[in-house]
């Protein structure tokens, strides 16, 4: 080890338990043969001893232990109070949550069979009674401004409904012929954007959807379950 390494170890050398016996012996051996380091170590130790004497000389106030215990007592009281407050806060939060949960639980809409039957009656159109006029009357009664398309066979009409599409009430007509069904939604153009030009069609896993121009103001969305053939649902006379 060179002189500067030896000197950097001085703080370890001056303390018990900070150096291995081996390193201590190495330093001692160096000091024995290096008067420069020996002098350096001695001056360092003298300076340290002088500083240590003064730095440790701090008069400790005699009532400090009492002050400490007073502080601990005050703090314990405060901690106990805080604990009570915390428990109270948690308890009231729990009560509030339970009350809120109960309110949500009990405010679910009531369903009963009588009401349900009334809804169904209102929407159901008997097939033998089925006519375009009955549909027009139904939507007028429902308060939906809509257009009832002409070129469908209304004897196949099984159901009329008003459904919310993106928040807008929309007329929905269901036609059934044997196993094939067509669900027709009448969308007002001023509430929905439909791509210009050729109206597109798409096939899902259970249905086929077709967009059809119906009037200047409305677009038809026809959803086929079964055979996706518009002609099946047209009035008999119109099939060419």
């Amino acid at each position: 080890m060179n002189c500067s390494t030896i000197r950097s170890l001085a703080p370890f050398f001056s303390r018990h338990g900070e150096l291995s016996d081996e390193d201590r012996a190495t330093i001692e051996a160096h000091l024995a043969v290096c008067p420069s380091c020996q002098g350096w170590f001695q001056r360092e130790q003298e300076f340290d001893a002088a500083v240590a004497r003064v730095i440790q000389q701090v008069e400790v106030p005699s009532d400090l232990p009492n002050a400490i215990w007073r502080k601990i007592a005050t703090q314990s009281r405060r901690a106990a109070r805080m604990k009570v407050l915390r428990v109270a806060a948690v308890a009231s939060a729990v009560v509030l949550l339970v009350a809120l949960g109960w309110k949500i639980w009990t405010s679910r809409p009531v369903v009963d069979p009588v009401q349900w039957a009334a809804w169904e009656d209102q929407r159901y159109v008997f097939t033998y009674n089925g006519s375009r006029e009955s549909a027009v009357e139904f939507f007028a009664r429902s308060g939906v401004k809509t257009f009832v398309p002409y070129d469908f066979d209304y004897t196949l009409l099984t159901r009329l409904d008003v459904v919310a599409v993106e928040g807008t009430p929309v007329a929905c007509l269901v036609f059934q012929k044997g196993p094939n069904r067509a669900k027709v939604y009448v969308l007002p153009k001023r509430r929905f954007r439909v791509p210009r030009g050729e109206l597109a069609a798409a096939t899902g896993s259970h249905c086929t959807v077709e967009f059809a121009e119906s009037s200047r103001e409305f677009v038809l969305v026809i959803v086929y379950f079964g055979e996706p053939n518009r002609q099946l649902f047209m009035p008999p006379g119109s099939i060419g």
């Binding site: 002189c3 950097s8 300076f47 500083v51 400490i68 502080k71 601990i72």
Partner: protein
């Protein structure tokens, strides 16, 4: 209150360590009043967290660490403390201990400590107190031992320079 805490054990902790903690606090902040507050606050925190002290043999470094953290927290709130810039705390060359006479005047010593940034002040104080091992100091400051030693060397060099008696013509500090 309410905690199942061996009262006798904590009383012993206070009796054994309050004086040295106060001395450390005093040298850290340079004020008797603040040092007393820091010591009380330290024991109040230690009392509340006593269950976290797993090894009673580590009580001393644990208390010193609580005191230092409390000091740093409080000082962060004050903000107007004056310290020397780090650049003036150069790493001393191992050979440059001059044989100049020095005077370890208590007031000048405390002034010099106050001027040092805390990261240098704490290793210096704890080195002279000989209360904690270098490993404990490093752990409490969360730096490697080598860093503690180099800060100690720079702090010592600064201290020596501040305590050196210069002829009046060479006196640059008041």
């Amino acid at each position: 209150m309410g905690q199942a805490m061996p009262h006798g054990a904590f009383r012993r902790l206070v009796d054994e360590h309050y004086a040295q903690l106060y001395r450390y606090a005093y040298r850290l902040c340079g004020s008797a009043e603040t040092a007393a507050d820091l010591t009380q606050e330290t024991f109040a925190k230690a009392h509340a967290q006593f269950s976290q002290l797993r090894d009673p043999a580590r009580a001393k470094p644990w208390l010193f660490a609580i005191l230092r953290n409390t000091y740093l927290q409080q000082r962060r709130q004050e903000k107007n403390h004056r310290e020397v810039p780090l650049e003036s705390l150069e790493q001393p060359a191992a050979s440059d201990i001059a044989d100049d006479p020095y005077d370890v005047n208590p007031q000048r010593l405390q002034e010099a400590l106050n001027e040092l940034p805390e990261m240098f002040r704490t290793p210096l104080i704890l080195f002279y107190f000989e209360e904690l091992s270098y490993r404990d100091i490093a752990e409490q400051m969360n730096v490697p031992i080598g860093t503690v030693m180099s800060r100690l060397a720079r702090a010592k060099s600064y201290l020596r320079q501040r305590l050196t008696i210069r002829p009046p013509s060479d006196e640059r500090r008041q």
